[in-house]
Symmetry: C2
Subunit: 303 residues, 2 copies
């Protein structure tokens, strides 16, 4: 790694995804400033080699800003809010926007960044916290060729696969919303099928063993069913993420007059889980809605 290729980068949002991306950028030899509303996360990252400094002091020297916050509202705040970073950046710096946002938001943000001389890459991510820490994410990226070029070192350090979705912002976020529709439905359907089988005497571990070799399997089923079997709801991805992401899907669908009854039904199960007080648990806890509604106990529950 030569000085020439080393970039000055800020990562906004040091949750499980952002923290892993920041670590991957450090490993690649970049100077990385981490920002988060949780001071402990910032201090922890600096202990691991992250750079310090106040945002106002370092913003003008940044080559790239990676935004890995929760939603469009937080992305708006980071980029264009009262202390927004876009006006402080140098010409031709690049924003890599990773949160799941409506495609219209991405298109609008690209235009506002362009007016300020800043590149914008619509770049939602997929793969989970483990792949984020390994630098092996999938990125569904869309933006102008100059934005792709400016973000290349960041993509190289954080992504195993970059899907080039087009030469303007928007299609990356479209792809992400499509992926989230599927993933959110598949987790809830896994929970529905597992508890449906349990009530007829089928053991959860046998469910996973057989279904993973049959036509009923999905990536999410194989990833999340073990959480239920182990009775471990340590949050890898939280129930409340789906209120947000399937909420975005349903907002887009309604505004486009697109009827999405299956996503709508799945969303209601996550809403019920959150209403039961499980919003911060792993999303596999949606199974607890089915268990409660059918008078069953899941592994690890009860005596």
């Amino acid at each position: 790694m030569t000085d020439q290729s080393s970039m000055n980068i800020a990562v906004f949002g040091l949750g499980s995804m952002g923290y892993g991306m920041a670590q991957s950028l450090l490993r690649a030899g970049h100077t990385v400033h981490g920002f988060d509303v949780v001071p402990h996360q910032v201090a922890r990252f600096q202990d691991e080699g992250g750079a310090g400094g106040e945002l106002a002091d370092i913003a003008g020297g940044l080559d790239a800003v990676v935004v890995v916050v929760l939603n469009a509202g937080q992305t708006e705040e980071v980029l264009f809010g009262d202390d927004g970073i876009v006006p402080r950046l140098k010409d031709r710096a690049v924003i890599m926007s990773c949160a799941t946002v409506p495609p219209e938001f991405a298109m609008d943000a690209e235009a506002r960044c362009a007016a300020a001389g800043i590149h914008y890459l619509d770049a939602p991510i997929s793969g989970g916290s483990v792949k984020a820490a390994e630098g092996h994410l999938s990125v569904m990226a869309a933006g102008r060729p100059e934005a792709f070029a400016a973000a290349k070192p960041v993509l190289d350090a954080t992504a195993e696969t970059v899907f080039d979705m087009g030469d303007h912002a928007g299609p990356g976020s479209v792809m992400k919303s499509v992926n989230q529709l599927l993933a959110g439905v598949h987790i809830a359907t896994m929970a529905e099928a597992l508890t449906f089988g349990m009530q007829q005497g089928l053991a959860p571990d046998r469910f996973l063993e057989v279904i993973s070799k049959c036509a009923g399997t999905s990536w999410m089923l194989e990833n999340r069913a073990p959480h239920i079997i182990d009775g471990d709801y340590t949050p890898h991805s939280q129930v409340d993420i789906w209120l947000k992401d399937l909420g975005i899907v349903m907002d887009i669908a309604r505004s486009n007059k697109f009827s999405a009854p299956i996503a709508a039904a799945a969303l209601q199960q996550y809403v019920a889980a959150s209403g039961m007080g499980l919003g911060q648990e792993d999303d596999a806890a949606v199974a607890k809605v089915y268990a409660r509604n059918s008078g069953q106990q899941l592994p690890g529950e009860g005596s």
Copy 2:
């Protein structure tokens, strides 16, 4: 293949699954009689080496009967109807029952067969017509050890994987209903997500290319999305199969007081497809419901 291991077998139901199983049994050196309500299918199978003869004449010499009909009603008719085969079979012949049926039906059929001195294997199948023809099905089998032993040559010739679900009939059909809940939901959700993306400008082939490498993928998505991309609705599995199989799921769920809102939503999309006149098309045609409801044309439709 020696004469000792060659069995005398009847296959009831020469649809895409049953025909493939009958072919696999022939290849393994067994004498195979094929029966179907469609005379053409019977004649075609005899041309390929199937044995002839009237049921009344050959029933007493059969070692095994494979029932690959549509549902519980047809299975009931074949086994116990006016011309039912069970009373005609020799002692300790085995029934391998492959249709998707309610678990209670399987348990009841096992008891009635036992009273007649006949073994019964609750043996729903998964894998599709291609694997049926190759002898590579997955079988979710449950029954008494004697039933497994008697059916072993049939399983050897038709299955790549046999899941031993238990020592009495019922759990095989439970497992199958769980698999069908998942598979039926996954096909309809693939259609929902694909058309949701299309309306936002995402090309169907790009959808498959990206999603198959992301967390939103499923076995059914990768198997059925190509039918939509190619505009080819030649039935591998028909829309109406899901009215039956998800109907069985919902019947079991309601009688057990199990709330299954996602399966219920998916079933309604297949009902709508059948109501549009698409019941005999490939099940990927459920996408046409979404396309019609959102004013879109799928590949191969329109001018």
